[in-house]
Every structure is written in structure tokens, then in C-alpha cells.
Amino acid sequence: MKILVPLKRVADPDNANKVKVNGGKLETTGLEWKPNPFDEYAVETALRLTENGTNPKARQGEVVVVTFGPKDTETTLRAALATGADRAIRVDAADDALDGDLVARALKALVEKEKPDLVLLGKQAVDGDSNQVGQLLAEYLGWPQATFAGSIQSEDDKSLVVGREVDGGTLKVRVTLPAVVSVDLRIVAPNSVRGKHTPPTHAYADGVRFAALMAIMAAKKKPLAEVKLADLASDTALKIKYTGFELPPARKAGIKVKAVSELVDKLKNEAKVV
């Protein structure tokens, strides 16, 4: 199976409370770039689907990672290559020259060239929290989509049974490939992904795999191609225009209560909520 994984780098999500707003502009200076966590999960999922988990070195398919961004986003691609992805593509573009719709339209052109069986991506990039590229891409391709995947079971790599994490529980769907699948947190639990080549008794380590030093060196030699955005999308107009930012209203400082009885008194007589 051939899988295309779009991945984005984002300002460190664990320090997102340090974003600043200056004159209506958002500032993330000082925050380290990190791969979008959901995209790391997508890479891990793609690797699990294209290997025999008991012998991951012998690849059983191809994982191509792609990012849209300036030159320095190649670091993110190299990191994915080091964990096991086979090939990388960088579509050259400035971050603020992109929106979800443009990324999706360009990805469509890339999919038509690369012809993957599956596009696996994060359910949302945790900077804009926009949650749309996968769905837009699926519609542009005329493919089915399974968003918010918490589990995937391959049926001989011809179809997938996907457990989707929805508001009311887990919704299982079967999609016939090619398809678009966006992944949620629990996709990297030990038994969430059942690939074609891995024996059903095999349990993975929880979470994403780390790259060994040797693999980091080897990743420098893996192919990384650069593509011009204009070669993938003729119309580069954005559909969303951000005009300003502000910080959320601060919560008024709370207090520490000393005992349960004091808490109950406050809830009853001050906040009047019980």
C-alpha cells in the first residue's frame, strides 16, 4: 500500500498559552517549532500499515510525507524520514500564503500525480485548530473520508474498517480505498492499528516511535523533493482572511479554600450555583 501523509509544523502546542498579541497581530516568537502532534500520529499509523510490526525494517509499502512551508520546514520532513517514512516532498510556500482550502486543492493535484491508496493526516493542525484539510481533500478527489480515526483495521489493503471518535461514542465505517483518513489521539494505542502484514497477536508500544541515531543519519540520504505551489494550484487566492487577533478575556483570580465546608459555603452563598 502507498500512503501519502501531509504534515505541518506548528508553534509548540504545550506552550500555546505563551502566544502574544501585538497590535492585533499574533506572535509566536520564542516558541519552538514542533510537528503537529496529530500528524506525528498519522506518520506512525502509516508506518504500522506498511510494515510487519515484528520486523519493521523490511518495508511492505511506501510512505510519502509532504509539507507546505518554507525551507526550514524540511527539518520536520527529515524527522519523519528518520522514524521510517520513505520519501518526502516540500511544497514551497510562505505560511501566511496558505489556508486549508489551498492546501487541500494543491494536495489534490499531488495525489493525482502520486496516486496513493490512502491519504492519512491529522484531524487538525493545533495552531489554527481548523479541522478541514482532510474533508476538503476527500470532496475534491471524490473519495470517501473517515475523520477522527481512533482505530483502523485493514481488510487486505482494499478497504479499511475505521473506528471514528464521535460525540456519542465510536462510529465504525468501512471505506473502500482510495480514501482519506484523519487520525485522532487514540490511533497510536498499542492495538489501534491492524495492518495487513502484522500478525494480529502483535501489540505496539504505546505512542509514536522515536528515531534511532543511525536512522537520523540515514534519513539525510532519503529523497526529499521540492515542488512549487504554483505547479499544483493555479489559483492561489485564499478563502479565509484573518484580520486581527486578541487574547481571551482573563479569568478573574480565584481563591483557595481551606476546607470542604468552606467550598460548599462559597458555592451556595457566593457563586450561588448549588
Binding site: 479541522n131 478541514q132 474533508q135 476538503l136 464521535v166 456519542g168 478563502k239 486578541e246 460548599v264
Partner: protein, 321 residues
């Protein structure tokens, strides 16, 4: 002037309360709106939204529209939007809304903005407000295309009250199936049945974290029962299997804003705060006085939860007389 189509979300043959927040969006935008009730059983559900001042309540009731498979719904929603000359399509920012809205947008050539928390009409422009970076900043944005699709947050837009009158009900046609629909199949929905209120609608939420271990339900249920509360959980509690995944509150779970939120044995990671910071009153119980949850809590109690929560139940019972 815009013309808005509010897509009602159905569950078990009823319109979900979150739809009322989408109606609030339409009223804030100050534009005439219609409501589309779509799904198996929509005919019956439509009556519950005829009193909100919509120009029309459109209905597409078809046995094939069962199971929230967005490939079945998107073609009809897009077709109804086009046929009715609507230029803004609004859904709720639920898992269904977020799944289907971009597909509708792509069909219409529309731009899509998710998780809208407010809207303002400025001249003939609509200006939207939405959280980014896990709610650590709010953006104002515009959609540059003539047709626009948005999803709105139930936690940020108060539910609309009925305004009286009776909107006329009209049927709309089911769209032809597209290729994608033929390649997806509904296998099943595993949902834990619960008598508790929905997280999005509860006045009180009692949420627990990793600290509760196997005693998650044992410790929290008495408190939740007493207050008629919904139960929520942190990701760590869900991942460990102490609570079902659909109870997760946070950036990647439900976003909630009840009157009262208890965070019990929850550290207060950024991703959790993203889902509950908007709650009116926040109570935190944690044995670590430096836990970040205390930075957003109105009332913090530094204590061992296994003692504090049962005591809280007893004291609350006393206080309620």
C-alpha cells in the same frame, strides 16, 4: 444582505439543542434565515424548530439518511443551499458538523471557518470570531468567497429561545448520490447509554482525571447524581480506560461551558483547559498546590480527592437540607 441556512442536527429523531446556538448565530448576523432539518425522521423533528422566526423550515426526510455518514448528507445540504439562494450555511461544531461542513463547502466552492464564537455584520460583510491555539487567542476573520460555510460553538453562543410564530414547512429534494457515497458503509455505533445529561447541555459537569484510577465512577457518580451533573474526563483518564473516550473534555474532546465545572484530580494541561475554560464557575480539587488547574479555578481545594469528594457529597447534602 446575507441569507442564512441553518442545518439542524438530529439525534434519535429530535433536533439537538446545539442547533439553537446555530440559530443564535443567524440572529446575531442579523439576516433572514431558514432551517434545514435533514435525516431519517426529519419530518417529525421539524415541528420543534418552527417557532424560532425562520422564513422556512426545509425538510429532507429519507430512509437513506440514517447513520451520520457525511457522504450521504453533504450533497443534499449543498443542493438545498444552492436551490434556496442561501449564501451562508451554518452547522453546529459537533463531530457531525465538523465532518460534513468542509465537504459542503468544497461542493459549493465556499470558504469554511470552524468553531465560530461570534459574528458581526459590518456593512455587507460578515466578520467572524473564532478561537485558535487551543483557545489561547481569538481571531477575527472573514470568508472571501461569495458562499460561506461555518460551524458554531455551542459553548460560546447561548441557545436561542423561541420567538413565536410558525415558519412554513417545505420539503426539499434528496440529491443524487455521488461516487464517494458508494465507497463508504456504516458498520455500527458503539455508544455507552447514559441517563446523564449531554456534556454540551449540562448545567453542572463533574470531571475527573488520571488520579481517580479504577475508582473513577465509584468516586464521581455520587457527586454527579446529587447535582444532576454530566460526567467528563481528562484524556489521561480516557486513555487509561477509567472513563469512556466520549467523555473527554478538551481541545480534542468536547468543548463545554457549564455553570459549574468540577475538575477532580486533573492537572490542567493546556489541551484540557481548551475545553472547559469558558465554564462560569470552576472548582478544582488537587493534592498538588502548584497544579496549573488552580490558575483557572474560582475555588481551589488542595486535598486528597479520595477524602475530599465523599466529604463534599455529605456537606452538599446537608447544605441542600
Amino acid at each position: 444582505m446575507s441569507k442564512i441556512l441553518v442545518v439542524a442536527e438530529l439525534q434519535d429523531g429530535k433536533v439537538r439543542k446545539a442547533t439553537h446556538s446555530a440559530i443564535t448565530f443567524a440572529r446575531q448576523a442579523g439576516a433572514p434565515f431558514s432551517i434545514l432539518a435533514i435525516g431519517a425522521g426529519a419530518q417529525g423533528a421539524a415541528a420543534s424548530v418552527t417557532g424560532f422566526g425562520a422564513e422556512k423550515v426545509l425538510v429532507c426526510d429519507d430512509a437513506s439518511l440514517v447513520g451520520p455518514i457525511c457522504e450521504r448528507f453533504a450533497p443534499t445540504i449543498a443542493q438545498a443551499a444552492k436551490a434556496g439562494g442561501f449564501d451562508v450555511v451554518v452547522v453546529t461544531a459537533s463531530s457531525f458538523g465538523k465532518d460534513v461542513a468542509p465537504r459542503v463547502a468544497a461542493k459549493l466552492g465556499a470558504g469554511y471557518a470552524p468553531d465560530i464564537s461570534g459574528v458581526k455584520a459590518e456593512g455587507d460583510k460578515l466578520v467572524f470570531r473564532r478561537p485558535v491555539f487551543a483557545g489561547n487567542a481569538y481571531a477575527t476573520c472573514e470568508i472571501t468567497t461569495a458562499l460561506k460555510v461555518v460551524s458554531v460553538r455551542q459553548s460560546e453562543l447561548a441557545a436561542a429561545e423561541p420567538s413565536g410564530g410558525a415558519s412554513p414547512v417545505e420539503s426539499v429534494a434528496l440529491a443524487a448520490k455521488d461516487a464517494a457515497e458508494g465507497r463508504i458503509e456504516f458498520v455500527g455505533l458503539e455508544a455507552a447509554k447514559s441517563e446523564r445529561p449531554d456534556l454540551g447541555e449540562a448545567r453542572v459537569i463533574v470531571a475527573g482525571g488520571r488520579a481517580l484510577k479504577e475508582q473513577f465512577a465509584g468516586v464521581l457518580d455520587p457527586l454527579a447524581n446529587l447535582l444532576g451533573a454530566a460526567v467528563g474526563a481528562s484524556r489521561a483518564a480516557c486513555d487509561a480506560g477509567y472513563a469512556p473516550a466520549e467523555l473527554q473534555v478538551g481541545q480534542t474532546g468536547r468543548v463545554v461551558a457549564p455553570q459549574l465545572y468540577f475538575a477532580i484530580g486533573i492537572s490542567g494541561a493546556i489541551q484540557h483547559l481548551a475545553g472547559m475554560k469558558g465554564s462560569k464557575t470552576i472548582v478544582a480539587v488537587n493534592k498538588d498546590a502548584d497544579a496549573p488547574i488552580f490558575q483557572v479555578a474560582d475555588y481551589g481545594l488542595v486535598a486528597d480527592l479520595f477524602q475530599a469528594v465523599p466529604e463534599l457529597v455529605t456537606e452538599l447534602k446537608k447544605a441542600q437540607g
